[in-house]
Structures are given as structure tokens and as C-alpha cells.
Assembly symmetry: C2
């Protein structure tokens, strides 16, 4: 290589290319409603259009951007479209996008405090901010025994919580000797699949995950939890982990945290609360009631990358006793030792997660909290909750439809009374139309449509248009 032509972009070339990239993103977002929300690409379509081999010679940035527009864009499902009502929102607000840019520009590794002190300290600090903003128990703050960390996803947070729980229940034996088959975990029948995945990965075995029955609102029955825990204990098993969900994926149900925490406390199980989607709502004091009881939780997580305007990945995860977490996840080889860590006065976040390396993710969360300020974040949450209530009213007023579960924050579960086939066709035709995209679940073994309002650009007009479209398709699919 000649030192004169390594191909690196100098600052001027970076600015030129960067401005083009920025303009592309700005134009994409300004015109996002021109695209069908759910991509219409066929399997293999993109791959067939790409060269079979990587280029030998470098190419111009402009050429790559053209391919992005021409080849990639048709294969995108537009999570940033205001017509996106599928799954849960995955909001990537503009300030968070710029936070990601700044973080990538700095290009630091935050595995140890020493490898970029600001990366660790801003993260600890912003997670303390969130404790205040969301009215979470002070025990999660880093100035006591607890603390928060950013994980990539609620799945990873659950896995870390489970490993910590496993270790606590076995007095530190599970890391050393393996899990054996006596450890038992508990979650409601409505809990997210990531809990079962964690139970498998952590070696407990899904046979040892008890799916606790739910009530008519799809929330865990604490008395059923107690009965299973006691029965397991009587049978010589070791109940070690309970996951309560604050806002289930299917229907947004809230497991009652307070009585579940009482059971866990009494029987000595680790309580993890998964508020992945709904957790953002706690920024509004009037929406905090269903989170009551979090004081009794050993760990809690929610995803700013869903409903709090911070682009994926950004899961906020807290523990009440950080030593229980780091005892389970810490290994210190010589090549990671350093004077700061040896003092014990700093936080090394590698011991709070599965991977070693980590990005500077706190930066984007910090930008979002500062750009918007708490009042605008609350206003956004309130606007979505109000729209969902309005939509539920329209559904209730149309005799062809019914609500399938109580409205939960921005999530409305409903169905056409005509049965699964009608609902399936309704969903597919709506999604094929391109202006809206929603997904389904099953509740009481019936296909149920989930209308999830939370995309940050969604306005009342998008909701009314989608609902009118649903009604029109229903007219056609199942004429009265």
C-alpha cells in the first residue's frame, strides 16, 4: 500500500459524502409515506440483483447511495412510517439518529470504565435520570446498591437477570457446576417468547419453565403462581426466577406486580419485570398505577427503543443489587485488568452483560432526553394513548367488530366477528394496500388483530384512515 492512497476519507471527503447521506435520510423520511409500509419484495429479489462477488476495486459513494435507493429501498418495511401499526413501535427519532452518528464517529469501546470513562459514566447517569423520570424505585439508582445498564434488547436483559437469579439460588454453584435440572422459572402463559428462550439458553430447560395461568384480562394470577412455587418446592425443586410482564406483547396485559413480588419475597425467587414496550408510559404520572410494586422487583427493563424515541438498540435494564448481577457475569482475565478496575471504584459494564464489547449507546438516549425534554415525551405518549382510546370507541360502535382485550395504552386488540379466516384476509388486504401495516396474535385461540399506536409521526388522520380502510375491506370480505 502506498501511504498516499489508503482509500480513507479525509475530513473533506467525509463531509461531502456525509452530507449526501444526511440528505438521503432527510428525503427518505420526508417521503416515507410514498412507500408501501410493508415491503412487497419477493424472496430472493434483492439477492438476485446484487453482484455475486465483492468488488475488487473501491467504488464511489454516490454509486452506493444510488443502489441503496434503487435496490435496497424496495426491500424495506417502513418502521418509521406513520402508518406502521404492527408489533410495537421502533421509533428512531432524528435526535437519536444523530446520537448514533456521533457515537459511531467517536468509535469508542465501553467494555471497561478505563476504555472510555465518559461512555460508562454517561450511561449510569442517564439511567439514573430515567429512574426519576419514570418514578421507578430509588433502589434502582446507582448511588445505592442498584444501578442501570443499556442492553441491546429485553431478551438479553432477561437472560442476564435469569443467570443472576440462577447464581443467587445456587449460592454461586450454577456457573461452576452447571444448572442441573432442579431450578425452576415462572412466567405467565402470555409472557414473551424471549423468556422461554432465556430459560433454554441458560440451561434450565423449558420443561422447567412454568407457564402460569392468566385471568380474563390476560394477567398472571398470583395465587396460581404461589401454588406452583409451593408445589415445586415441596417436590424438592428450586424456584429461582419469576418474570412478571408489564404490558404483554399479545394484548398489553399487566401482571399484578405487588402480589407477585410478595410471593417471590416469601419464597425466595428473583423477580424480573419485563416492561419492554409499556415501560415508557411511566413517564406520565397518571399512567404509573399498573407499575405499582416495582419496589419488590430484583430487576426491571423497558425499551427506550420502542416508545421513547431512541433508535434500536437501547434497552434500559436495572437491578436492585448490582453485585448479584456482576457476580454472575464477571470474569477477569489478565489482559482486561487495569488500575481503575483494581480500585473497585468504577463500573465495568462488561460485567453487566453477555458480550464484552459495547457501543456508546447512552449518547443517543442523552440526546433524546435533552432534545425533547420530559414534557414533550409525555405529550407524545399521551397523544398515542388518547388515539387508542378513540379507536377503541369506533370499534365498539361497529357491530361487526369486537375488542378482544381491554385497551392497553396505545395497543388495541380487536377482531371481526366473522372468525379467523375473515380476520386473516382482512389483515392481509390491509397490509397489501400499503398505507398501513398491522400484525396479529391469538387470544383465547382466536385470531386477533393488534392495532399498535406508537409510531412517533402517527397523527389522528393516519389512525382514522387505517380504520376506515379496515371497515371498507370488511364490507368486501364479509358483506353484511
Amino acid at each position: 500500500m502506498s501511504d498516499d492512497d489508503p482509500g480513507h476519507m479525509d475530513p473533506e471527503a467525509f463531509l461531502v459524502a456525509g452530507r449526501r447521506a444526511l440528505e438521503w435520510v432527510a428525503a427518505y423520511r420526508a417521503g416515507v409515506e410514498r412507500h408501501p409500509v410493508l415491503s412487497r419484495a419477493a424472496p430472493g429479489e434483492l439477492r438476485d440483483a446484487l453482484p455475486a462477488e465483492a468488488p475488487e476495486r473501491g467504488e464511489a459513494f454516490e454509486t452506493i447511495l444510488e443502489d441503496l435507493e434503487r435496490l435496497i429501498l424496495p426491500g424495506i418495511t417502513h418502521w418509521q412510517s406513520p402508518g406502521f401499526f404492527a408489533y410495537f413501535p421502533s421509533n428512531a427519532s432524528e435526535p437519536s439518529v444523530l446520537g448514533e452518528l456521533l457515537s459511531a464517529g467517536l468509535g469508542v469501546q465501553g467494555m471497561l470504565w478505563a476504555t472510555s470513562p465518559a461512555c460508562t459514566e454517561l450511561e449510569a447517569h442517564v439511567l439514573d435520570w430515567l429512574v426519576g423520570l419514570l418514578g421507578l424505585p430509588a433502589g434502582f439508582r446507582s448511588d445505592g446498591a442498584g444501578g442501570g445498564v443499556i442492553q441491546d434488547s429485553a431478551s438479553s436483559a432477561a437472560l442476564c437477570a435469569l443467570v443472576a437469579a440462577r447464581e443467587r439460588a445456587t449460592g454461586g454453584e450454577s456457573n461452576r457446576r452447571g444448572c442441573g435440572g432442579r431450578l425452576v422459572a415462572y412466567a405467565s402463559s402470555q409472557a414473551h417468547s424471549s423468556i422461554e428462550k432465556a430459560v433454554r439458553i441458560a440451561g434450565l430447560g423449558s420443561d422447567n419453565l412454568r407457564r402460569i395461568e392468566v385471568d380474563e384480562r390476560f394477567a398472571m394470577r398470583p395465587e396460581a403462581l404461589r401454588a406452583r412455587l409451593e408445589a415445586d418446592r415441596a417436590a424438592g425443586r428450586v424456584p429461582c426466577f419469576v418474570c412478571a410482564t408489564a404490558g404483554t406483547t399479545s394484548s398489553g396485559a399487566f401482571d399484578p406486580i405487588e402480589p407477585i413480588a410478595a410471593v417471590c419475597r416469601e419464597l425466595g425467587a428473583w423477580l424480573h419485570v419485563d416492561g419492554a414496550w409499556a415501560g415508557a408510559a411511566a413517564i406520565c404520572p397518571e399512567l404509573r398505577a399498573p407499575f405499582a410494586g416495582l419496589e419488590g422487583a430484583d430487576s426491571y427493563c423497558f425499551n427506550p427503543h420502542k416508545w421513547l424515541l431512541t433508535n434500536f438498540d437501547c434497552t434500559a435494564f436495572w437491578v436492585a443489587d448490582r453485585r448479584a448481577l456482576t457476580a454472575a457475569l464477571s470474569i477477569s482475565p489478565e489482559y482486561l485488568r487495569n488500575r481503575a478496575s483494581d480500585t473497585g471504584r468504577v463500573t465495568d459494564y462488561r460485567d453487566w452483560q453477555v458480550p464484552l464489547g459495547r457501543r456508546f449507546r447512552a449518547l443517543k438516549l442523552w440526546l433524546v432526553l435533552r432534545h425533547y425534554g420530559a414534557e414533550r415525551l409525555r405529550a407524545m405518549i399521551r397523544s398515542h394513548v388518547a388515539l387508542a382510546a378513540e379507536l377503541a370507541g369506533w370499534i365498539g360502535a361497529d357491530p361487526r367488530f369486537e375488542l378482544a382485550a381491554p385497551v392497553s395504552l396505545g395497543l388495541v386488540c380487536f377482531r371481526h366477528r366473522g372468525g379467523d379466516a375473515v380476520n386473516q384476509e382482512l389483515m392481509e388486504r390491509l397490509n397489501a394496500g400499503g398505507t398501513a401495516y398491522l400484525t396479529h396474535t391469538r387470544l383465547e385461540n382466536r385470531l386477533t388483530l393488534r392495532f399498535s399506536i406508537g409510531q412517533y409521526r402517527t397523527r389522528r388522520g393516519h389512525v382514522t384512515a387505517a380504520w376506515e380502510r379496515v371497515r371498507a375491506i370488511a364490507e368486501d370480505v364479509a358483506p353484511a
Copy 2:
């Protein structure tokens, strides 16, 4: 909230703020050598300077950028400085930074093929490109039984490989019934701590990780591996997983893959090869010899986010039998079902990893491969390897110093002959000086300095300056 003032940036505001962010990054990088490579921040310094609570009202982007410069920057350790010789490189080239920006701008979730077909297809395609570029076995390509996926880190790749290995060895029982204590894993005494971490998390227990002895070059002894495997099997245990390292963290040693693969094949263990750092070197045909035998591996990973110019996170992970991986990691709740997945004709990458959600990381790798082209990537690797050889020559010519291990690609392990205390002080004074940063390990129980050449802006002058500084400090610390 008034629909008129939700606080979102409109395209014009985004462009204005975005240009400022870009200019900040460009200026930061242009002036990166003005900062001490290793941050001099004291514990708590940043936190003490930040407000105790999140702001109630939104703030101007410019104000936040000023705080980034004034408060955050002093707490940054500069991984993008050409004087960064610590750990391994974590190169965040400009094209990859822009790839991250574009990915964040699109803001898609790639958990399922349907949730953005291009996100999945570009990833599968670019990982096939890499198979060709690196001369990897064709069996890792997605058009056969194998395939590649991007993980956040080699730690996570190892965990996924281990869970797949565990499932294969137990005929699918470990996910269902838990791990028990009979499963055994193997790695050399020099393997990365992430392997032991995976063994703990996956419930095998670190007592069931055999640390196989190494030869005088710190490479695993295949005959020792065979003996341990046979002994375990004779004792009724189930050897399920072997991790060979292609380029260890401490010294860059290469375990001999071919004979290790032969042992694994014969005794039925899953062979995972961890090429986290060194793997990028295989883009140069003349550097491929130590990777011989990968045909016998069940899985392999390396990190483009180390030495291949793609910003963290980007670990390329391949399996020879993708069904073994997805069988171990797949769970399909109703709310994730969709027509495309039901056809079985598409890849859903959520089944290839621990988390459910995922960013569009292939975009930045695609940008890097296209911007540079293979020839410039090779040239960069070669320049670093040549610099390391040159540095080793200088070390060998100075009687006060000795090489502590054979030079491996860009990694030079050396020590002052004066003993641990001298080397410790040498390192600390060099790092305190601010123009260079290197870290240590222990080899044969002696403190050893690691001079890792791989930062993409590093030129010969940076290496000579750091070496001259080491010599000058040595003069002072341990005068002849």
C-alpha cells in the same frame, strides 16, 4: 400535545443539526492526535458535572454539542487515534460511520425476513461475499447447508455456537430438560474469557470447561485435547464443544485447526473457531496458512469491527449446518408468525441469535467493502503486518528488551528484561504520556506488553515514535 409542536425535527432542522454533527465528527477525527489517547478523567468527574435530573424542557442541539465537546470528550479514550496500540483495534472507518447513519435513518428491525427483506438478504449476501474474500470453506455459504449472520460480538457468537453444540450432543434434550452436568467443553488455556463466560451462561458450568495445555508458541496441543476428550468420554461424560482460537488475545497464537478438527470429527464434538481479531487477515491469500482446516469447523467467527474497518458492532459468524443453529435458537410465538416465514423459503435471523430485535448492520459492512474494495483492504492489512515485523526487529536489536512470543500479524508481545515492576511502570508512563496507549497480558506468568498495530490511521511514524518513547522511558526507569 399540540400536533403543531411535538418537538420532532422536520427535514430542514434535521439537516441543519445533522451537518453540525457531521462537522463535529470530521473535526474530532482531524484533530484526534491532540488528545491523550488514554483518557485522563478521574472516576466520577463526568457525573459530577452533569445535572442531577433530566431536563423538563427541550434544549437546543447546539447546546448539547457544546457539552459533548466540553464534558464528554475529556472522558473519551481515543480508539480512533493512530497512537492506539492497546487491546485490538476497533476501527470505525468513515464509510462505516456513514453506514451506521443510513441504517439508523432507515430505522428498520430485521428480526424476521418480512420485517425488512433487504435487511436479511443484504446480510446473507455480504456474508457470502466474505466467504469468497477470505477464502473460507464454501460450506459456510448460504446457498448450501450453511450460512452467515452478523452478531454483536464474538462472545455472543460463541454462546450461540455452544447452545447449538449442546443441543446437537443431547439430541435436542438440553433446551427442554436443562443441561445437567455431563456435558463438557474444551478450549486452550489461552482462549478468550468469553468462552468461559459462554460455558457458564449456557449452564454447563466452568468446572466442565477443560483448559487444554499449549505448546511453546501458546497454541493448543491437539494430542492433549484428544487425551482429555477420551478420558471424559471414558468417564461417562459428553464432550460437546471445542473452541479453537485463530489468533489469541494474549499473544495472537493460532491453534492448529486441522488436527483439532480431526479429533472433533472422530469424537463427535462441535468445533467452533474463534478468529475474532486475526480473521480479517485472511483477506490476504499469503496470510491464510494458519486458517487451514476450517473445512472441519462447525462454526467460525471473526470481527470486521476489529481490523476490517467496520465500526462496532459487527461480528461475522458462520455455521456449516444452519439447521443445527436454528433448531437450538428458534421459538415461534403466534405474534411473530407470518406468511413468508411459514413458507420456509426465507431466513429469519432472530433464530440465529440470542436477542429478537436487530439493526440493519449489513449496510455498513456493504459500504466498507464497496468503498474500499478488496485491494485496499488487503493493502491496509499488509501495511500493519509489515510495521509489526519492523517493530519486532527493533525490539530484537535492543538488548534490554525481548520478544515474549512470536510476532503474530500486527501483534508484537515484548517485555523489558528488568521484570514485572519495570514493565508495569514502563506501560503506565507511556500511557500517561498521551501519544500512545498499549495494554498488557501475562505470558508464562510474566508481565508482557502488547503492541497491537491495526488502527487504520496508524503510519510508520506513529510506531517509531511510540517505540522511541518506550526506549526513553526505559532509560529512565531502569538505567543501564
